[in-house]
């Protein structure tokens, strides 16, 4: 058999916009795939020299270690506030936040909603895994009804704990958001769609269209206490009915 492992036949290789550091994420966690897609989009849009990312608190707290672009760490939930400042100071830069659901939808709700309402010219990458992954799988505002977490061991009782919150639908109603979409990355087709969505978001940001929010429903196999493939299946069966995938607000809706 002919050896085709030559540069001229290269079809896919990890982008150089990611560093060579080994990701600290658990095996099978969607954070790694999402990092890679953001990096690929930055590379394809030739934005590496003028991208500033804002890292959250949560599992992706070390995101700045993995991207070959400028980064700033925010206090828990404050990434949209920091991104506001940076994007106003550097209006031509590609400014994005990368946030989990605990970060964006709990402690950072105010920052998220007000940045979206003001229409700050930023991309928000929102990774929704239904729990606080980093701190041990506690209930988040996004935890599904009856879903078990370390602080709702019998399942989320909505009478006592409130209903799960759909942040994307909520901010889509605000005048400042321009593009709001919900995607996933557990299967090849979803990965390709998410990449297209992220690309649109960064393009719109470069056109100064306001706030672009890309939610990615993802797994936390360690927190959910499942194998990675099982967690992806569980996500399809349980997360997607409540958090349906697809565009929530597009420029045509305006």
């Amino acid at each position: 058999m002919e050896d085709i492992k030559k540069a001229e036949y290269l079809a896919y290789k990890k982008t150089e916009v990611l560093t060579d550091k080994v990701l600290h994420y658990c095996p099978g966690c969607g954070h790694g795939t999402i990092h890679r897609l953001v990096a690929e989009v930055i590379e394809e849009l030739d934005l590496q020299h003028k991208t500033i990312g804002i890292a959250p608190v949560g599992c992706s707290v070390l995101a700045y270690e993995y991207f070959n672009v400028d980064f700033q760490e925010a206090a828990h939930g404050r990434a949209p506030a920091l991104a506001t400042a940076i994007s106003r100071l550097y209006p031509d830069h590609a400014v994005f936040t990368y946030q989990g659901d605990g970060d964006l939808a709990a402690i950072g709700t105010a920052e998220t909603i007000h940045a979206c309402n003001r229409g700050e010219n930023i991309v928000i990458v929102f990774v929704n895994n239904g729990i606080y992954g980093m701190t041990g799988g506690q209930m988040a505002p996004t935890t599904l009804e009856n879903m078990k977490s370390s602080t709702s061991p019998y399942g989320r009782d909505v009478k006592m704990m409130g209903s799960p919150m759909k942040m994307s639908e909520l901010v889509a109603n605000l005048p400042g958001t321009h593009y709001v979409t919900r995607q996933a990355v557990h299967k090849p087709g979803h990965v390709r769609k998410t990449k297209r969505a992220l690309k649109k978001a960064f393009q719109y940001q470069q056109e100064k269209k306001g706030t672009q929010l890309v939610e990615i429903v993802s797994n936390c196999n360690s927190g959910w206490k499942m194998t990675p493939n099982k967690s992806n299946q569980w996500m399809e069966e349980n997360m997607f009915p409540f958090f349906p995938l697809g565009d929530i607000k597009t420029p045509d809706d305006k």
Partner: protein, 74 residues
């Protein structure tokens, strides 16, 4: 008929053995080893020479450890 030949290289020392790449391959090219890498993970490896270079495995791999090659054969 033009035939496509693909090939993959898995950086086994960076593989975390999550198995997400296994079910997405249309040809069952990838399998999990019984051996472990230096981190102690049972790693993914190319078990058959029937890859078509679709890159499904590479784009779902959270750790970006798979490189894909593809050639159109005459």
């Amino acid at each position: 008929m033009a035939k496509i030949k693909g090939d993959i290289v898995i950086d086994i020392e960076r593989c975390k053995g999550c198995q997400v790449c296994v079910p997405v391959c249309p040809n069952d090219t990838i399998a999990m080893s019984d051996k472990v890498n230096a981190k102690g993970f049972k790693y993914a490896f190319k078990a058959q020479d029937n890859c078509i270079g679709c890159a499904n495995c590479a784009i779902v791999c959270p750790d970006g450890v798979i490189t894909v090659y593809k050639k159109k054969m005459k």
